[in-house]
């Protein structure tokens, strides 16, 4: 059993297809909708946690892509600029999923992107702009600069 958080983008042409239901029925994947937003006649965005074996998750993602859902791993969307982080820990008290946590006894801040649900709290609270202040539901959000 493993878990992966992915961002699904439903363009308007497929918006009304019941694809997520089939993840459960055909692949027996456990899904958990972390956040969702539908912009009528434009597109829908869902932040989804998928739980299952690694193979099945990969198959499920393939199925989604065959159905023209754009699937992006969250780790490509949310990241920390490590050189900006001073390891103060201000973000750790507000992170709802412990994706940002204090490593003890070193008192450094660890970021586990697999636990992140892109709520944006850390972006609001980090004094140094180390957590890229993107919300997944902003179609204009910039991507990671070092990605293609």
């Amino acid at each position: 059993m493993t878990s992966k958080n992915v961002l699904l983008i439903f363009k308007s042409n497929i918006m009304y297809k019941p694809v997520i239901y089939r993840l459960a029925r055909d692949f027996e994947l456990v899904f958990n909708i972390l956040e969702a937003k539908i912009l009528p006649r434009k597109e829908g965005r869902i932040l989804l946690e998928l739980r299952g074996s690694e193979d099945i998750i990969a198959e499920g993602i393939r199925f989604l892509e065959q159905n023209r859902v754009v699937v992006e791993p969250l780790s490509d969307k949310v990241w920390r600029e490590d050189e900006k982080c001073v390891n103060c820990g201000a973000c750790t008290g507000l992170c709802p999923t412990d994706a940002l946590s204090m490593k003890r006894p070193e008192m450094t801040v660890s970021f586990d992107v697999e636990k992140c649900v892109a709520c944006g709290m850390c972006g609001l609270v980090c004094p140094f702009g180390a957590m890229r202040d993107i919300t997944l539901f902003d179609p204009f959000a910039e991507g990671r600069s070092d990605s293609k």
């Binding site: 201000a90 003890r104 070193e106 008192m107 609001l124």
Partner: protein
């Protein structure tokens, strides 16, 4: 002070630094050393204990002289990267405050404001070697006819640039909570309603003034690590108050002593001077400070072996009490507890998070320790001490 068994002077310790025989420990290492050896033996063996802190210190800024233009100017308004610096002093001098916001910043008009760039960020840009845009405006005089001067300047182009901070290094500070019903945005971070989270902001057992609680060795002339370079304590900071309630070990139970510091900005590093943006509050500067504390006697060994278990922070409500200037501490909590990430408050679990970087504070204490060991950094003997409070001494030393 003849009652001590160990008596060393600044001069003796400096000689040891120069001949390479000095023994220096960080304040973290000193805790174990005193426990193991006892205070007298520890004071005999250890000469200097180094401290460190790296946190948001709003009462900071840069004193800059930007050099004369041709023709000359007597600036009465100065902006650096759009951030105003106080220019009501001599012709081309100005003071850039860390908390100054950019002229066109929307502030809190759309709440909470983000305050992405201010005085602290200009200081960080300067020590990073980046060029900044200087804009000086004047009314013109016979001796200084120029009305406007603009230049792109890097730190090396300023004839003089000092970090000059009126209040840094608070000796202990509040643990902030929010008992109100809405989320608040403070200089102590974002605080959720109903006391859901608590923020604290000192490096505890590593913090300079918590290791010399009566300022016996720190005063005007103390040479320190400042922003990655060398600086000096130039006196007590503003709001310095030695008469705060203290626990039996002499440790203050709330914000008390403060330091005023100065250093040459040109030798500092953006690693230890970082512009900060506090959502809903404003701009600031993270300052790295490390103060060496000479172990002149066994009492100083006791003071510098203070641990997070022995230091208590007052829990203060920033929802109502603090902004209104009313109320009393809701209780006290040790730094050891705060560092676990959770504390009990009124029977409920509250998440605790630091605002000052303990790991960077330790890095500073280690750097300062190594500077002293290398023989390059001598202790500065204070020419004047800071206002202090009486202390009857430790029971176990009597």
């Amino acid at each position: 002070m003849g009652e001590f068994k160990i008596n060393k002077t600044f001069g003796e310790i400096n000689k040891k630094i120069q001949d390479g025989s000095v023994v220096v420990l960080t304040a973290e290492e000193m805790i174990g050393a005193t426990k193991e050896l006892g205070p007298i033996e520890a004071a005999h063996k250890v000469d200097v204990v180094t401290t460190g802190t790296f946190g948001i210190m709003c009462s900071s800024g840069a004193f800059l002289n930007f050099g004369h233009s041709k023709p000359r100017i007597k600036a009465n308004k100065v902006f650096i990267n759009g951030v105003e610096a106080y220019a009501g002093i001599a012709a081309v001098d100005c003071y850039l405050g860390a908390a100054q916001t950019r002229e066109d910043d929307p502030l809190n008009k759309v709440f909470p404001g983000r305050f992405r760039y201010g005085g602290g960020h200009v200081i960080e840009d300067l020590v990073s070697g980046k060029q900044v845009r200087l804009e000086a405006l004047a009314y013109g005089t016979d001796c200084y006819p120029n009305l406007r001067h603009e230049a792109d300047m890097a730190l090396r182009d300023f004839p003089d640039a000092w970090l000059l901070n009126p209040r840094n290094g608070y000796q202990n500070y509040n643990c902030a909570v929010n008992l109100s019903k809405k989320t608040i945005y403070t200089y102590m971070g974002v605080l959720r309603p109903d006391c859901t989270n608590a923020n604290y902001s000192t490096s505890g057992q590593l913090s300079p003034l918590l290791n010399d609680p009566f300022y016996r060795t720190i005063g005007l002339g103390t040479r320190i690590f400042l922003g990655g370079g060398v600086g000096y304590v130039i006196g007590n900071g503003t709001q310095h108050n030695p008469n705060v309630k203290r626990s039996e070990n002499g440790v203050v139970m709330g914000g008390a002593g403060t330091l005023s510091v100065k250093g040459d900005l040109k030798h500092m590093s953006p690693k230890y001077l970082r512009g900060a943006s506090l959502t809903g509050y404003g701009c600031s500067l993270n300052v790295g400070i490390g103060v060496p504390i000479p172990i002149l006697n066994e009492e100083m060994a006791m003071f510098t072996s203070v641990s997070d278990d022995d230091i208590l922070a007052p829990i203060v409500d920033y929802g109502l009490d603090y902004p209104q200037g009313t109320g009393a501490p809701l209780g006290y909590v040790s730094y050891a507890q705060l560092k676990t990430g959770e504390m009990d408050f009124n029977g409920q679990k509250v998440t605790t998070s630091p605002l000052a970087s303990y790991s960077t504070a330790l890095e500073i204490a280690v750097i300062l320790r190594d500077w002293i060991k290398s023989g390059r950094f001598l202790l500065g003997e204070p020419q004047d001490t800071l206002p202090s409070a009486p202390f009857s001494g430790f029971e176990m030393l009597k």
